[in-house]
């Protein structure tokens, strides 16, 4: 099987390499790709939308419809993961593990047992893996705010520099994931519960699709942000720029929440009790 696979792949690859013979050279400024559609974007973006980052402008305006479905893909991945893995009935484990914070001694409490009254000195820990590292926790606490600030900057500054809703959203989601890794899944769930996450990712796609629908209500085509000029009290070009910012924020929120929910589901295999 191995050799068969190798030979098949090798033949297929040689065929593909034969296919590159008539490709225009790499980086050729005269190739059809560089001369047919793309010059319009490069030369007109500033006039049409006043957004210097051409990629953002094309992503959220010229081909904004694709990006709406990109958000929908992420949304359906979130729901799909929830649908496949989430176990609705909570099955309680037979025992719980607690650690005495001062000494680091671990207690195992059998089913039906109760904590001693001085419960504040104990913290619950995972059954499978019991990390206790002050350095990781502190570092996590220290850098997470900076990561989040950076993520918000990336979302907001997507007009002028690389970045935008999607990248910022992923970084924002990663900060929550980092929190869940450096502490544990329960404390992450306390701060960002499942329902809150679900609320956020529907909110994100509502913002995107809602902006598009608003444009229809204002008498233009779907996602034609220039129609927003009448309610934002700006000229149509600036309205496009603002429209792009609004949908980027929507994308950011949706992506952040989906990354978090995907992580929660995968790491706890749908049980939402303990994780990495």
């Amino acid at each position: 099987m191995k050799w068969f696979g190798f030979i098949a792949v090798f033949l297929c690859g040689s065929l593909f390499i034969y296919g590159t013979v008539e490709f225009p050279g790499w980086g050729d400024p005269l190739s059809p790709t560089s001369t047919h559609v793309s010059p319009y974007y490069i030369e007109k973006t500033m006039e049409d939308t006043s957004v210097p980052n051409i990629v953002t402008a094309v992503l959220a305006d010229y081909r904004g419809y694709d990006t709406m479905f990109e958000t929908a893909v992420i949304f359906s991945a979130g729901i799909a993961c929830l649908f496949l893995l989430r176990q609705m009935k909570r099955k309680k484990t037979d025992f719980r593990l607690y650690r005495h914070t001062a000494t680091g001694i671990t207690f195992r409490i059998e089913k039906g047992g109760k904590l001693p009254p001085t419960a504040k000195e104990f913290e619950r820990i995972d059954g499978l893996w019991t990390p206790y590292d002050l350095i990781i926790k502190t570092t996590g606490r220290f850098i997470i705010p900076f990561i989040q600030i950076f993520a918000l900057y990336v979302i907001a500054h997507g007009h002028h520099s690389p970045g935008g809703g999607f990248q910022g959203g992923v970084i924002l989601g990663a900060s929550f994931v980092l929190f869940a890794i450096s502490h544990d899944l329960r404390s992450a769930l306390n701060r960002m519960s499942e329902k809150l996450t679900a609320f956020f990712y529907t909110l994100g796609v509502y913002i995107y699709a809602g902006t598009g629908a608003l444009c229809i209500l204002l008498g233009a085509n779907f996602l034609d942000y220039s129609a927003l000029a009448t309610i934002l009290f700006v000229d149509p070009v600036t309205a496009r720029s603002h429209g792009i910012l609004i949908v980027e924020i929507g994308v950011g929120i949706a992506v952040m929440a989906v990354m978090v929910i995907l992580y929660y589901n995968l790491v706890s295999a749908g049980k939402f009790d303990e994780g990495l």
Binding site: G27, N53, V55, T56, P162, G163, G164, F166, Q167, V170, I171, G173, A174, V177, I181, M259, L262, Y263, L266, V267, S268, A269, G275, L276
Partner: protein, 81 residues
């Protein structure tokens, strides 16, 4: 853009890719896949695709690796090939 640099990183990418599918430990494969994605994002940055590179660095090298590690954590590290 310097094509020699591009070529060197391309070689790295290919080796990381081969490593990710041959190593006999799923956790190692997940980490190597992260390295692969990171090298890939460098490659794209060299080619001037800054936005794509940014996305790949955050998605491929960041979140995807976490997903792989958590899936391996919930299943098994063992693999026969």
């Amino acid at each position: 853009m310097i094509w020699q640099l591009d070529l060197i990183i391309l070689t790295f990418v290919i080796f990381c890719g081969i490593g990710a599918i041959t190593i006999k430990d799923l956790l190692g494969a997940a980490i190597l896949f992260g390295a692969y994605s990171f090298m890939m994002s460098l490659l794209w940055a060299i080619m001037g695709a800054v936005d794509v590179s940014f996305t790949e660095a955050s998605v491929g090298a960041g979140v995807s690796t976490v997903f792989f590690v958590s899936a391996v954590f919930r299943t098994t590290r063992r693999t026969k090939d």
